[in-house]
């Protein structure tokens, strides 16, 4: 990896995003619009005594979902475009290293995901009175790490897609099971043993657990840091696997 090439590649990806104003607008507006929906869904529900309100429970986890889902899709398509328009082949004939490109995507879309999470969190705390025992900054941090994980998975999956149609179908394959089994719908402890085992190997489960730790504890807990480390480790592992799928020579 070359720090200068990594930096210019990250800058290039962010510049591409900046030129696409509609995508930027969607990144900013959609999470807040969906949080509004969730707010009104639960607004009349009585809160069971001694428990967080439904909105607090759901919105907190959703703050991690948004960047995870969106950055997975954005990355899969962006990387597929690099492959189909020939820019990838050209890049691989330049001094750019594979990891410069992959980490460039990780940093650029990780930042975009962090910005998205920050805006959505501002709306959640400011407009809808989301309450968490811990700091909002930790929520944004965890969401940003989930975004990096999504970018890494998107880069890896794009290697197995030849068309945009195939690429978007990896979303339900890779993302939905992680959403279903992350512990939001059914607490992980109440799942059947084999489902729990599956949930244990899905990295998003740890991001959700980390968010729930922030929700319940005023100070960052050891479990939270461990979970963040697991998510970050899974992201690095996916990036390295993605590097293995990038071949300079093809048939």
């Amino acid at each position: 990896m070359n720090p200068r090439i990594l930096a210019v590649t990250t800058g290039r990806i962010l510049r591409q995003l900046r030129h696409d104003r509609r995508t930027v607008a969607l990144l900013v507006v959609v999470p807040t619009a969906l949080l509004t929906l969730v707010h009104f869904m639960y607004v009349d529900r009585p809160t069971p005594p001694g428990q967080p309100s439904f909105f607090d429970r759901v919105a907190l986890v959703m703050l991690g979902f948004f960047p995870f889902i969106i950055m997975f899709l954005v990355t899969s398509i962006a990387m597929l475009r690099e492959r189909t328009t020939g820019t990838l082949e050209r890049l691989l004939t330049t001094p750019l290293g594979k990891l410069d490109l992959l980490f460039g995507y990780g940093i650029a879309f990780g930042l975009a995901g962090a910005a998205q999470a920050a805006i959505a969190s501002t709306a959640a705390y400011g407009l809808f009175d989301l309450e968490t025992a811990g700091s909002a900054w930790l929520v944004v941090l965890i969401a940003a790490v989930s975004a990096v994980l999504a970018v890494a998975l998107g880069l890896l999956c794009s290697a197995f897609a030849r068309t945009e149609f195939q690429a978007v179908q990896f979303m339900p394959v890779v993302v939905l099971p992680q959403l279903l089994l992350c512990g939001l719908f059914v607490p992980r402890g109440e799942m059947a043993g084999w489902l729990q085992a599956v949930s244990d190997v899905l990295p998003l489960s740890y991001a959700v657990e980390a968010l729930q730790e922030v929700g319940a504890h005023a100070e960052p807990t050891g479990t939270m840091w461990r979970d963040v480390a697991i998510v970050a480790g899974a992201a690095v592992m996916a990036l390295v696997l993605a590097a293995a799928t990038l071949r300079r020579r093809s048939g």
Binding site: I5, R12, G86, R90, T93, T94, P95, R249
Partner: protein, 247 residues
């Protein structure tokens, strides 16, 4: 003088089809060498082998003294793919500056490369809004910007107007005069006369490796298109039975 590219018995299969059937040739340094042949003759595959992105089935390709695709060559070789491979959602200038930065060049080098392909006036336009010809020139600027020692250009002049085409060829010769080696493919025979040397390939086999004058002298005709036609006929008559059967 050492050759910039030496190819020995190069065999390439794509899928189950043999695309290159044992090609041997050399490209001298500081020259403009034309790689000519009809569409589907294997020009792009040969160029991909030279820049080291093609899996090869046999033989060897040596570029600037090293095996094609060796890591140090990535700073010394520039490649223009046939389809313009630039980012449609960046401006011409941003594209050129990115590829310049990859080669450790400055922004001013990038701006000069953009001006040299005649896109100075469109530098701040998004590539996605350019015409096909402009887009391929934007792509060309990105191949030239690193000032590589060897430049491999896959059909750089397709879709350009005649004046621009003449400008680009003048530019290629100016680069060659400074010691740069250019390998330029084309399927338009009238461009052959502009090259210092010619490689003519057809159905994955080398039909001619000569200077334009050499080709004319060997065939006894002045028009290169006619000359190539005769070379192809002679090679078929001499034992290109498989070629003849495919007609």
């Amino acid at each position: 003088m050492q050759d910039a590219i030496t190819i020995r018995d190069l065999v390439v299969d794509r899928g189950r089809r043999r695309v290159l059937h044992g090609i041997s040739c050399a490209v001298p340094r500081g020259s403009v060498t034309g790689l000519l042949g009809p569409s589907g003759s294997g020009k792009t595959t040969l160029m991909r082998a030279v820049v080291g992105v093609q899996v090869i089935g046999g033989g060897s390709v040596t570029v600037l003294g090293q095996p094609a695709g060796a890591a140090p060559l990535r700073r010394r070789v520039g490649y223009l793919t046939q389809a313009p491979s630039v980012y449609a959602d960046l401006t011409v200038r941003e594209n050129a500056r990115y590829f310049a930065a990859l080669h450790g060049r400055r922004a001013t080098d990038a701006d000069r490369a953009v001006a040299e392909v005649g896109l100075g006036g469109a530098a701040t336009q998004l590539v996605g809004t350019l015409s096909g010809g402009q887009r391929s020139r934007a792509s060309l600027a990105c191949a030239l910007v690193g000032e590589p020692e060897l430049i491999v250009l896959d059909e750089p002049t397709v879709g350009q107007d005649p004046v621009l085409r003449a400008d680009l060829w003048a530019r290629f010769h100016a680069l060659a005069a400074t010691g740069t080696t250019l390998l330029v493919s084309s399927h338009v025979m009238d461009e052959a006369a502009r090259c210092d040397r010619l490689l003519l390939i057809r159905q994955g086999r080398l039909v001619a490796d000569d200077t334009p004058d050499g080709v004319r002298a060997r065939t006894g005709v002045d028009d290169l298109e006619e000359a190539f036609l005769r070379l192809i006929r002679t090679s078929e008559a001499r034992g290109g039975r498989t070629d003849a059967r495919e007609q």
